[in-house]
Symmetry: C2
C-alpha cells in the first residue's frame, strides 16, 4: 500500500458539485453519438438510423456485493459490465452509460476515486462514454445504479420471445464458475471472521475468483456474429443462471427446450472446485448465475456459421411448449429444469 | 383506510419475476417510439430524426424523503417528475422512463403497489412509458433510481453553457414554496415525535405542502415555447435553488448576472409562511430548492414572445463574467449571490 492510498479526504471538502467535477473531469467522450456528456440537465445522444437500446441495473452493498472481498475498482468495473452484457444480449452495441451512486460517510474521496477507476477501465475497454449520473449520500452502505444505452439495427436486434421450434440452443464461454468463485470467497470470509490471524487461501483459483470479481461482457461474440452475418433467433444474457434464462426464452417464445448435460460447458477448474465443495457442477451451471455469458438460439440453417467459432457450444434444441424444458443427463436420465432465478428477497 | 389497505403480502410470496410482472402488467405503452418495454434484457426506442436526451436521479430514504410524511404514491409521482423536469429543461419531450428500486423487507407488495400507482399517475399525466428497471432488496430503507429518456430537436435543445451577455433572465412559476413546505412538515414531525397525541397542524397550507410532496414539471412551458416558436438561449431546471442554478448557467456560459429581487416570483402563501418561520422569503427562493421551475435566458429580440405569457417572469439580465452574480435588493442594496446548492453529505 502506497502512502497515497492511506490518504483520506472527506467528501465534504469537495461538496457535491466539486465531487462530480473531480470524478468526471478527466474523462473524454469517444463516441460520435455522445453529443453532450456530464454537466447539463441531461445527456444528449444522436443515434440517427439506429434504434436506441436502454437497460439499467442496481447493485446494493450487502445484497449484491461484499466489500470485505470486493475491491472498489473491481466493483466499479463489474457494475458497468453487468449492464453492457444486457445491451450485447440485444445484439446491440453499448455507447453510453450513466452512473448514480449513493454512499455513506464512511466512503472517502479516495475510495470513490477507486470505484471510478474501475468504471472508467470498463468504459475504455468496451468503448463506452460516461455521460451522466447522480451522486448522493446514503444513511448506510453504497448503492450503484448504472444505465447503459446502446445502438442496434432494426433487423438485427434480438429479443427473448422469438425462439422457434427446431432452433439450436447455444451458449458462449462456460457456466458456474462465478458462483463457485463466490462460494470460495464466502468460505474464506467466514474463516477470517472466526480467526482474523488466518490468511485467506484462495488455492490459486485465479480464474474462478476472477469470474466472480471481474466478469466480462461478450462484446467479442457480438462482433463475431456481425462478421459471420449471423443473427440469432433469440438471445439473453446469463445473469441469474442457465435454468432461469432458458425459462425466460421458453416462456416468452411459447416453446420448450431439450438440453444435453454433456453440451453445457463447464470450466475444468469449476468442475474440480464444485466437487471439492460437494456441489454438483451442472447445478452450479444451471442455478449459479453471474456468468454474463450469452444464451441464444439459431436457425438450423445457420449451424455452419457457429460450428467452428471459438467458445460457442451447441447444447440443445428448442421444442414445442408442451414438451417442457428438459435436461438429458450424462447418466441417461431426463429431468425437468426448474427456473430458480436469483432471489434476494 | 379500507380493509384492502390493511392487507400485507410479503414480497417473497411473488418472487422477483412475479413482482415485476405484478407491478408492470397493467401498463400499456403509449408512445410510438417505445418499440419494446419491460420484459427483455433492454428496452428498445426508435427516435428517428430526434436526438435522444437522457437523465437520471436517485432518491434515498432518510436523505431525500421521509416516509413519516411522504405518502408512497406521492413519492412515486415525485421520483418521476424530478427526472422529467430535467428533460424539459433541455427543451425536449420525455417519452420513456426506467425505474429501479431497492427496498428492505419492511415494504409489502401493497406498499410497492402504492409507489407504482404514483409512478404510473406521473407516466399518464406526462405521456411517458415505463420501459424497464430493476427491483432488488436493500438491507435498509428504500432507494429509487429513475432514468428519463426524451426526444429533442437538434436546433432546439437548450444547454446551460449558451447564455450571452444582454440576454434576459426568466423564471417560471414561483420559488421557495417547496422548501417552506418541507419546513412545515418537519416542524409537525418533531411535534408529533415529542407528543404523538397532537394532531399535525398543516394550517391549511395545501398549496405549500403540495409544492413539496407533489411537484410538477413544466411540460406546459415547453409546449408554450414551441407554440411561440421561442428557443431559450440557455435553460436549467430549479432543483437546488435559484442561486445554485444561476451559478451553473453563469459558470458554464462564462457570464455574470444581475437580478432584481422584485422580479423573483414568490407565492403569497410562501411569503407569509417564511415570515412566520422567521425566514427571509428571498433566501428561501434563492437557496430552498425542489421548485422544479425552469430558469432560462432569452435573446432580447424575443422579449415580446414571453412578455404576455402567463407564469413567466423576467427577473434580470446576463452581464459580463467580470461583473459577477449580483442581486439588487428591494432595499436598494447590491449583494453577491453565492451558490449554495444542496448538500446531503
Amino acid at each position: 500500500m502506497t502512502k497515497d492510498k492511506l490518504k483520506r479526504t472527506d467528501v465534504n471538502e469537495l461538496g457535491e458539485f466539486g465531487l462530480i467535477d473531480h470524478l468526471t473531469e478527466k474523462h473524454q467522450l469517444i463516441n460520435a453519438s455522445s453529443v453532450k456528456g456530464v454537466g447539463d440537465d441531461a445527456a444528449v445522444i444522436e443515434n440517427k438510423d439506429f434504434l436506441t437500446v436502454v437497460t439499467t441495473d442496481m447493485l446494493v452493498e450487502g445484497i449484491h456485493f461484499d466489500l470485505m472481498y470486493t475491491p472498489l475498482k473491481h466493483l466499479g468495473y463489474k457494475s458497468v459490465v453487468v449492464n453492457l452484457s444486457d445491451i450485447y444480449a440485444m445484439n446491440a452495441i453499448p455507447k453510453q452509460i450513466t452512473v448514480s451512486i449513493a454512499f455513506s460517510n464512511r466512503f472517502s474521496v479516495e475510495a470513490l476515486e477507486e470505484l471510478y477507476e474501475g468504471i472508467y477501465a470498463a468504459c475504455n475497454f468496451y468503448g463506452v462514454d460516461l455521460v451522466g449520473g447522480d451522486t448522493t449520500s446514503s444513511p448506510k452502505g453504497i448503492i450503484i445504479s448504472v444505465t447503459a444505452i446502446g445502438q442496434g439495427e432494426k433487423d438485427k436486434i434480438t429479443y427473448r420471445n422469438t425462439a422457434k421450434k427446431g432452433d439450436l440452443l447455444c451458449v458462449t464461454g462456460n457456466l458456474g464458475a462465478a458462483y463457485l468463485g463466490l462460494q470460495l470467497l464466502e468460505r474464506e470470509k467466514q474463516i477470517y471472521l472466526s480467526n482474523p490471524g488466518v490468511k485467506p487461501d484462495l488455492e490459486d483459483q485465479n480464474y474462478i475468483v476472477g469470474r466472480q470479481l471481474k466478469p466480462e461482457a461478450r462484446k467479442d461474440m457480438i462482433e463475431l456474429f456481425a462478421k459471420q452475418d449471423l443473427v440469432p433467433t433469440s438471445m439473453i444474457d446469463i445473469s441469474d443462471g442457465l435454468a432461469s434464462e432458458i425459462f425466460h426464452i421458453c416462456k416468452q417464445s411459447g416453446v420448450g427446450a431439450f438440453i444435453e448435460e454433456s453440451g453445457v460447458p463447464i470450466h475444468p477448474d469449476a468442475q474440480m472446485l464444485a466437487i471439492k465443495f460437494k456441489l454438483d457442477p451442472i447445478t452450479c451451471a444451471l442455478s449459479g448465475g453471474e456468468d454474463y455469458e450469452l444464451l441464444f438460439t439459431i436457425d438450423p440453417k445457420d449451424v455452419e456459421k457457429v460450428k467452428y467459432l471459438p467458445d460457442i457450444y451447441i447444447m440443445g434444441e428448442i421444442t414445442e411448449a408442451s414438451e417442457g424444458i428438459k435436461l438429458h443427463t450424462k447418466g441417461g436420465n431426463i429431468h425437468d429444469i426448474k427456473a430458480q432465478g436469483w432471489k434476494h428477497f
